[in-house]
């Protein structure tokens, strides 16, 4: 799986032999590759007017391009705001609740992202073909797709260390602009231009897979919630800045503590471990049917109801397994 940003083909249909050579080098002998563009064909075409674009078949004959549209980041913030508003609406009206939930489109985004990730994973696993993923900048939907695909394909990404590495690799090092995206979250009065819950959507997708395969992950829901929190506000420097360059310039490794150094201490880790975890070497394919996707109660209804009963259930699971 490769990731990038959009090629700068522009309206003149420019080509770049080095680019072609680079990605062709990942092709397996005799096999084609797939390019998954996370924009719709229309949007990709319109990008040409601004100097961007997509890989033209004539220059990339061994690659088949698939458009799997994932909503652009600026729409996502609005989605989050609507969802949170729905969750705060204490009305007793079920119709109102369901229509507000639907209007937020949150679960639609989840479905789109998971579907694209499953597609990428299928190319690898079923077709044995290399995949290149990109959207516009390659810093948002691209990363959702590449990281989720790895979770589907690679059991190591479902271990705690493996997942941490995945986040470091596919989000921090890949340059997801955390500073911009995770500025203020759903309650901010000022509409920041660059804000978007891209990372939260990713974590939500991971949770959906976790819910469908509860024994396949070394970490539990609390771990994902913790990461969500630290992406927005943290005493650790891990999620500060927009890319490695900035982090290096800010001397973060010298001036701040790493989140991982705290999380990986055994007394903290025990809170995040999944008692049902049984390591397996499977590729796990989530269902993206609407019936299979649920609202992430643990995050969105967290402050609405006592978690007591669900916590007790979790305790009980731990007890059963520990006693055994």
């Amino acid at each position: 799986i490769m990731r990038s940003s959009q090629p700068l083909t522009g309206t003149n249909g420019r080509r770049c032999k080095e680019d072609e050579k680079l990605i062709n080098a990942t092709l397996r002998p005799g096999k084609r590759g797939y390019i998954i563009d996370t924009r719709s064909l229309n949007v990709a075409q319109q990008a040409r007017a601004k100097g961007g674009g997509f890989e033209q078949e004539v220059h990339y004959p061994q690659w088949r391009r698939i458009h799997k549209c994932i909503e652009r980041f600026n729409i996502l913030q609005e989605s989050l705001i609507k969802l949170v508003e729905a969750c705060n609406d204490q009305s007793h009206n079920m119709d109102r609740w369901l229509s507000k939930l639907e209007a937020s489109n949150w679960l639609t985004h989840i479905k789109e992202i998971l579907t694209a990730a499953c597609l990428a994973a299928q190319c690898i696993d079923r077709e044995g073909a290399s995949v290149l993923v990109h959207g516009t900048e390659g810093t948002d939907s691209t990363l959702q797709v590449t990281s989720l695909a790895q979770i589907i394909l690679d059991p190591r990404c479902r271990t705690i260390r493996g997942f941490e590495s995945l986040v470091v690799r596919e989000w921090l090092q890949a340059g997801h602009p955390f500073q911009q995206r995770c500025a203020q979250s759903a309650y901010s009065n000022s509409k920041q231009k660059w804000e978007a819950p891209v990372f939260l959507l990713f974590l939500d997708c991971v949770w959906q897979i976790l819910r469908q395969f509860p024994c396949s992950f070394e970490f539990n829901e609390q771990f994902l919630i913790m990461l969500f929190e630290h992406a927005y506000a943290s005493q650790f420097g891990t999620f500060l800045g927009n890319n490695e360059n900035e982090r290096s310039k800010l001397k973060l490794p010298q001036k701040t503590m790493s989140l991982w150094s705290w999380v990986n201490r055994s007394e903290e880790l025990s809170r995040f471990q999944n008692p049902l975890f049984e390591a397996n070497s499977l590729v796990i394919w989530p269902s993206v049917a609407p019936q299979s996707l649920q609202l992430w109660e643990g995050v969105f209804l967290r402050w609405n109801r006592p978690s007591k009963f669900l916590d007790e259930a979790h305790e009980e699971i731990i007890n059963i397994i520990k006693y055994n």
């Binding site: 009305s91 079920m94 509860p214 590729v283 049917a289 299979s292 109801r305 009980e316 397994i321």
Partner: protein, 651 residues
């Protein structure tokens, strides 16, 4: 009929070829060739509708929709055959006599005593005793012993001690279908009670002294409270409309010290349509999230579930927190009243959250109080306007509660699904007819078997591993929240997409934990045995000082024991391997067992069709997602609900 194709519901390009059989009790599809010869069994009683679709080049499609939400799509090569099958199924699915039903031919190979014992498993007299009756305020009455007062009520009703037969009879004449106020639940902690009835025949101004006395007696049976709630579960408009027909609701001016309340649950016709709409959403091929959510909202289903739940919460609160008694009714007091009383009881009393208690609850508020099983669930061919998913809604309320209070119920989701299945299956006699009177006339207990006994025998499958009777969550009253943002009502795919395993979580937490617990129990037993042996050996070693040789052997045995003890303690990894080999841990199997049944006469009768009727292809490597589009290369498609990993799980 040969060469029939069974289509996969999600991927219509996938089909299995086989032979279709019609028997007196079942439709059976047997796969051709292959070693497994997988079978799909459907009871005629389960068939809700049959649709003959337009003939295509491949044959004549026949769509069978079942009451347990299974949908079977067949393609029959010859139009003539298809028509024959269609006509036959129409007749078979609409029996005219009770004797046609499966329960009268079902033979689980039990003798007469076992059959009787099975029927005695749930005893309502014991239940009322458990509640603490008879006592100062309540007693049993035999006024209805020959069904002379109310033919849809049981022979044994519980009433306030102060009421006379005269009052009861008088009140019954003032109630729709003669369903006078009778006790459903008594709370011994504070004397508050839940009583149930039908609507009064009050019209605009009619009164009945005995009925007013009846309510007064109920109120006075709870001395700590100076008023009685009267809860009408209908929408106010409907209740008011009933007045024009000479029925209606209680006027607070006429009945001393009552507080009247409308709760507003819709009627059976609205509910039937609601379910219909929701099932249409379930049948959509590859719906978007919006299609689904919009469809769900449009059906109103969850709204109705919430309405029933809210009513139950209100009543439970009145009893537990206010210590006030409640009289509940709707129109005839056998649908919404049953739902609401049983939800309230479940919230109030942890006993009803045990397996046995739940069976008792259904026997009490549904079976004995004359819920019209035949009319509502179509045992026999009848008026389609009487059909309505009333008990299904109650069962769903229970499931929603289980999701919010995972430790509070002794039973699991599978228990509820199987009960729903058997309400429609008519394999057992519990849910036949419309009243206790009808069932006794048909001698149901002498001619059929009890579902409860059957489920009780298999209760290990129905346990909730998180339940502990001493856990704080399992005790006392459950107090769920009511706003939808505080109590997340979920779509129950386990029930409404029951046979589409690809949509469900692929690893079952319940099954995994049950396997762990089972293993723990076995280990504990082993530990006990070994500890005993150790003790015995130590004893015999002390006693047999002369027999050196034997002593040596004992010692070596001891050594052997201790090392094996250590190995048991030091190799947890082995246990997890063992867990993997437990058949019950196959995460996707759920309630379906091995379907390699052989079509012998014996098996036809004694098999539990519920267990073998899996039209879902879970035993093979089923690829639900990879549909090659036209135009080169396999483009993986949307719904990647792959089951390919299930083969590994099952191995």
């Amino acid at each position: 009929v040969e060469n029939v194709r069974l289509l996969d519901r999600l991927s219509s390009r996938k089909a299995t070829l086989g032979t279709l059989y019609l028997t007196a009790t079942h439709v059976i599809f047997v796969e051709n060739g292959s070693e497994t010869r997988k079978e799909t069994w459907v009871l005629h009683s389960q068939i809700s509708s049959i649709e003959k679709q337009a003939t295509t080049a491949t044959g004549c499609p026949l769509l069978i929709r079942c009451k347990n939400f299974q949908v079977i799509q067949l393609v029959i090569p010859q139009e003539r055959d298809c028509h024959d099958v269609y006509i036959s199924l129409i007749r078979l699915a609409r029996p005219v006599k009770y004797e046609e039903l499966y329960c009268f031919s079902f033979n689980p190979k039990l003798d007469k005593e076992e059959r009787e014992e099975g029927w005695k498993l749930v005893n309502l007299n014991e239940e009322y005793t458990r509640m603490g009756i008879p006592n100062t305020y309540w007693q049993i009455s035999d006024v209805n012993r020959d069904y002379g007062v109310c033919d849809s009520y049981p022979t044994e009703v519980y009433v306030p001690k102060s009421t006379t037969a005269h009052i009861i009879v008088g009140s019954s004449k003032f109630r729709s279908r003669r369903r006078f106020p009778a006790l459903s639940y008594y709370c011994k902690h504070n004397n508050a009670s839940i009583c149930r009835s039908s609507q009064p025949l009050s019209g605009f101004s009619a009164r009945c002294l005995e009925d007013e006395q009846m309510l007064q007696a109920i109120r006075k049976a709870n001395p700590a409270s100076d008023f009685l709630y009267v809860v009408d579960t209908r929408p106010k408009l409907n209740a008011m409309a009933n007045r024009a027909a000479g029925k209606g609701y209680e006027n607070e001016d006429n009945y001393s010290n009552i507080k009247f309340q409308f709760i507003g649950i819709e009627n059976i016709h609205v509910m039937r349509n609601s379910l219909q709409k929701m099932l249409e959403v379930c049948e959509l091929k590859s719906p978007s999230m919006s299609d689904f959510l919009w469809g769900l909202e449009n059906s109103g289903w969850l709204k109705h579930i919430k309405a029933i739940m809210d009513a139950g919460i209100f009543i439970a609160k009145a009893v537990a927190e206010e210590g006030v008694s409640v009289l509940v009714h709707c129109s005839d007091g056998w649908d919404r009243t049953a739902q609401v009383c049983s939800v309230a009881s479940l919230l109030l009393d942890p006993y009803y959250r045990t397996m046995k208690g739940f069976m008792v609850l259904i026997e009490k508020d549904w079976v004995s109080f004359g819920h019209k099983f035949n009319h509502r669930y179509g045992n026999l061919d009848g008026d389609p306007k009487e059909i309505s998913p009333v008990i299904d809604q109650f069962i769903e309320c229970v499931w929603q509660l289980m999701e919010q209070f995972p430790c509070a119920f002794e039973f699991n989701e599978r228990f509820l699904i199987h009960i729903q299945h058997h309400i429609y299956s008519c394999q057992f006699g519990n849910f036949l007819c419309n009243s206790q009177k009808e069932r006794r006339e048909l001698k149901i207990q002498e001619r059929t078997y009890s579902l409860w006994a059957h489920m009780w025998k298999n209760r290990a499958d129905y346990l909730n591993p998180l339940y502990r009777s001493d856990h704080s969550q399992t005790q006392g009253t459950l107090r769920p929240q009511t706003a939808p943002c505080n109590f997340l009502y979920k779509f129950w795919s386990g029930m409404y997409n029951r046979f589409e395993k690809g949509l469900h979580p692929r690893q079952s937490v319940t099954d995994y934990l049950m396997a762990v617990k089972e293993e723990t129990q076995q280990l504990e037993e082993e530990l006990e045995i070994l500890a005993e042996r150790l003790a015995n050996l130590q004893k015999s070693q002390l006693n047999d000082n002369n027999k050196v040789k034997i002593k040596q052997q004992d010692q070596s045995k001891q050594l052997g024991l201790s090392t094996s003890n250590n190995s048991l303690a030091n190799t947890p990894q082995e246990y997890s391997n063992d867990l993997k080999s437990f058949p019950s841990w196959s995460p996707s199997q759920g309630d379906e067992e091995d379907s390699a049944l052989i079509l012998t006469q014996d098996n036809l009768k004694s098999s539990d069709p519920d267990l073998s009727a899996n039209s879902d292809q879970e035993s093979g490597v089923e690829d639900l997602s990879c549909r090659s589009p036209s135009g080169g290369g396999c483009l993986p498609s949307e719904d990647s609900g792959k089951d390919s990993d299930e083969a590994v799980f099952l191995a």
